[in-house]
């Protein structure tokens, strides 16, 4: 038996890797060797722990010491003090784990206290490139149970009982989807995994694929058994090289152990998996466009019916599920559907992973039971907005979603509640905004993204979103007109009713949501040509404060458009019609007398 008295877990998710965690890992290996400790201590490269704002993260067991913002130069000290002498290096510990000089366990730290890690259970705890470690923590036990003790209808029934709903955003009941495909008669069926994750700022799926790829592999084999499919594809965006690499390794190892291929576990069931790469199109996260892409065609959606469960990939019955949906499946079989259904709310069972981004202290990945309020996520787990700024709104669902303003912050997070507030659950991207964000600019940002990503097939999306963007551009540039809001609402209604796919149908959501909750900002932009948050450059006026101005003339000398005039020793003035808003005057003023508002 291999016995290591200490395990050094180093995060090698994309976030920490780009902060040089590979060098940290190499330094640990070198220092451990130098001190003669190789036989006693193992260094493991793992997946994402979730507290990304404080990466690179290193956790050392058995003490479970949570080191944050570790630098390669710190490694020597950690090895000498902690690994050789058993003295935890307090200055490098995550501040949240040290209270009154006592070190708290990770589970009790504010960031993790309210989290329940189901989909992320193995991330940070195992080496994702080692199938044995996945197996150790009950990996492939669910598959064994399914193949040797259950029938396909029983499997589907279990998923239905759990109440699992699609985690990709739409929240369609997973058991029902599998049931439809199981009932379709055909000689070939397909199991697909949507690992395209196109929402800006979302990285939930990435972390699962990088930290626990086998959970997806196992789930897809179970799905194949349930619907009667023998082939599966994981469609992963090419912008996730680490995820793609680890998926490849996982599939290879599963094949080696006979968990993929012919006669799995000696039961006669056969199933195999391949990875297909996306090429950067947001629309390829849409079900039918994704299938077109796998078929080698341009990623464009098609009308439904026929639904994929009847006629999908290569015209065969197909199920497509999100990475996070699959990540929950093995546990549902290991711990039972009742266990899963015991978490969450009446119609939204289980947990959801959120990628917290934007103006929040604890940027990173969190997994919470459905029903947790937005307030708990933003303040208790997220640590609130940095620099003491006031929370304004949280955007859920990316370009397809809406915002939850501060007035609605006590909304319990689940599919129905978020929809009732004009947003959607989405895949889990949660962008936090504070008083310095302009909601019109946010709406414009998402619409700009949509216009870029529209495939162009249907007129409502191709032409409609562009017109909406033009209006938003005008508004943010100070050229808004009376009636613009009504035009936006009209366009929105028509696009939602007639666009061919989800991309177009949900594109107007950010605009509608911001108009609903922040109409005053739109009015200020249009009627007063003013941006209350101070973001839209074209609406900012640089002004010289008379009481601070000493009349030195430095600003006028440096102005590239000769917009400043005045007499020495008396306050100067800026002509806003000539001002190009470059900001040089404000920079050069020695008395800080020039402000933009």
């Amino acid at each position: 038996m291999e016995m290591y008295r200490s395990h050094v877990m180093i995060c090698k998710g994309t976030g920490c890797t780009s902060s040089n965690s590979e060098q940290i890992a190499k330094n640990f290996e070198e220092e451990i060797k130098k001190n003669g400790l190789e036989g006693e201590i193992v260094v493991e490269r793992t997946g994402c722990f979730g507290l990304c704002a404080l990466g690179p993260v290193v956790i050392i067991y058995p003490e479970a010491s949570f080191y944050s913002m570790v630098k390669p130069e710190d490694v020597e000290e950690i090895v000498k003090e902690h690994l050789v002498k058993g003295r935890v290096v307090k200055r490098l510990l995550y501040a949240g784990s040290v209270e009154e000089n006592k070190i708290k366990a990770i589970e009790d730290v504010q960031f993790y206290k309210k989290q329940v890690r189901v989909a992320l259970r193995n991330c940070g705890v195992i080496n994702p490139e080692n199938i044995d470690e996945y197996i150790a923590f009950d990996g492939y036990k669910a598959l064994e149970k399914v193949l040797t003790q259950m029938t396909p209808p029983e499997v589907i029934d279990t998923v239905k009982k759990s109440g699992l709903r699609g985690r990709g955003g739409a929240g369609f009941p997973t058991g029902m989807k599998w049931d439809f495909a199981a009932r379709s008669q055909n000689d070939q069926k397909y199991v697909l995994c949507n690992a395209d994750e196109g929402d800006p700022g979302a990285f939930m799926d990435r972390s699962v694929l990088e930290g626990d790829p086998h959970s997806v592999v196992e789930a897809m084999i179970i799905a194949g058994f349930a619907i009667g499919a023998s082939q599966g594809y994981i469609y992963c965006r090419a912008e996730y090289p680490i995820a793609v690499k680890r998926l490849g390794i996982a599939i290879g190892q599963a094949r080696e152990y006979g968990l993929l291929g012919e006669n799995i576990m000696g039961t006669g069931f056969k199933f195999d998996l391949q990875v297909r790469l996306g090429a950067g199109a947001f629309v390829c996260g849409e079900e039918t466009a994704l299938m077109a892409s796998i078929e080698g065609k341009r990623g464009m959606p098609r009308p439904r019916p026929p639904f994929p469960a009847n006629k999908g990939l290569f015209e065969k019955p197909t199920i497509l599920n999100n990475v996070e949906t699959y990540a929950n499946i093995p546990q549902i079989f290991n711990k039972g559907p009742e266990w899963f259904a015991s978490m969450g709310t009446e119609k939204s069972k289980g947990t959801k992973v959120f990628a917290l981004g934007g103006k929040i202290n604890n940027t990173g990945l969190v997994e919470i039971p459905m029903g947790t309020t937005m307030r708990e996520v933003i303040y208790d787990i997220g640590g609130g907005c940095p620099n003491g700024k006031k929370f304004k709104a949280a955007q859920t669902g990316g370009p397809s979603g809406g915002c939850i303003p501060a007035s609605e912050i006590d909304v319990p997070i689940d599919y129905e509640n978020l929809a009732a507030k004009g947003s959607i659950m989405g895949s889990g991207g949660l962008i936090v905004m504070d008083e310095d964000n302009c909601m019109v600019d946010i709406a414009r940002f998402f619409m700009d993204f949509i216009v870029d990503e529209s495939c162009g097939k249907c007129t409502p999306c191709r032409e409609g979103t562009k017109r909406m963007l033009e209006i938003l551009d005008r508004i943010t540039q100070g050229k808004g007109e009376e009636g613009d809001i009504e035009k936006l609402e009209n366009l929105a209604k028509n696009i939602k009713n007639s666009a061919l796919c989800g991309l177009g149908q949900t594109a107007p959501n950010p605009v509608l949501s911001t108009i609903n909750y922040f109409r005053d900002e739109y009015d200020a932009h249009i009627k007063e040509k003013r941006c209350p948050a101070g973001v839209c450059k074209a609406l900012l006026n640089y002004t010289i404060l008379e009481d601070k101005c000493k009349g030195c003339g430095i600003c006028a000398k440096n102005c590239p458009s000769s917009a400043i005039s005045g007499q020495p020793k008396s306050p100067y003035k800026i002509d806003s019609s000539k001002c190009v808003k470059c900001g040089v005057c404000a920079q050069k003023c020695p008395f800080k007398a020039i402000v933009k508002k």
């Binding site: 038996m1 291999e2 016995m3 290591y4 008295r5 200490s6 395990h7 877990m9 036989g39 006693e40 067991y61 058995p62 003490e63 479970a64 050789v84 002498k85 058993g86 003295r87 705890v125 195992i126 044995d132 470690e133 197996i135 150790a136 923590f137 009950d138 990996g139 492939y140 036990k141 064994e144 040797t148 152990y257 006979g258 968990l259 006669n263 576990m265 000696g266």
Partner: protein, 122 residues
């Protein structure tokens, strides 16, 4: 190609190695590794404990170090925490005594009284 039986064996074997990351409820063997401990020879004690645990394939055993326990003249000190039992403190431990402690106390549940701090006080 692995049979279900072989997978179960892999599961058990690997779990023994990495369970230290999840489960905190097993036996803890703590070796004092402050300056006093190291000077008195705690490293060979630590290594021989690890070797014995490895040799006998003991599951659910965590071997950790700690700082100065306080009774510096009695180093090397080894403390054993077994779930549900009172902590036992062994003093003036050396490599061979450590082997006996693992075999009798950890594996058979018999505290080696003569090595404990209580015995010295008499």
């Amino acid at each position: 190609m692995k049979t279900i039986q072989e997978l179960e064996e892999i599961r058990k074997k690997t779990l023994d190695t990495i369970n230290i990351r999840k489960d905190r409820s097993g036996t803890r063997i703590v070796v004092g590794m402050a300056t006093c401990g190291i000077a008195a020879g705690a490293r060979p004690v630590l290594l021989s404990i690890i070797d014995e645990v490895k040799k006998h394939d003991l599951a659910d055993v965590v071997v950790a170090q700690t700082g100065c326990i306080g009774m510096c003249r009695l180093e090397p000190i080894v403390e054993v925490y077994k779930p549900g039992e009172e902590k036992v403190t062994y003093i003036k431990v050396n490599a061979s005594k450590a082997i006996r402690i693992v075999n009798e106390h950890i594996m058979q549940g018999k505290v080696v009284d003569e090595y404990t701090v209580g015995a010295v006080e008499k």
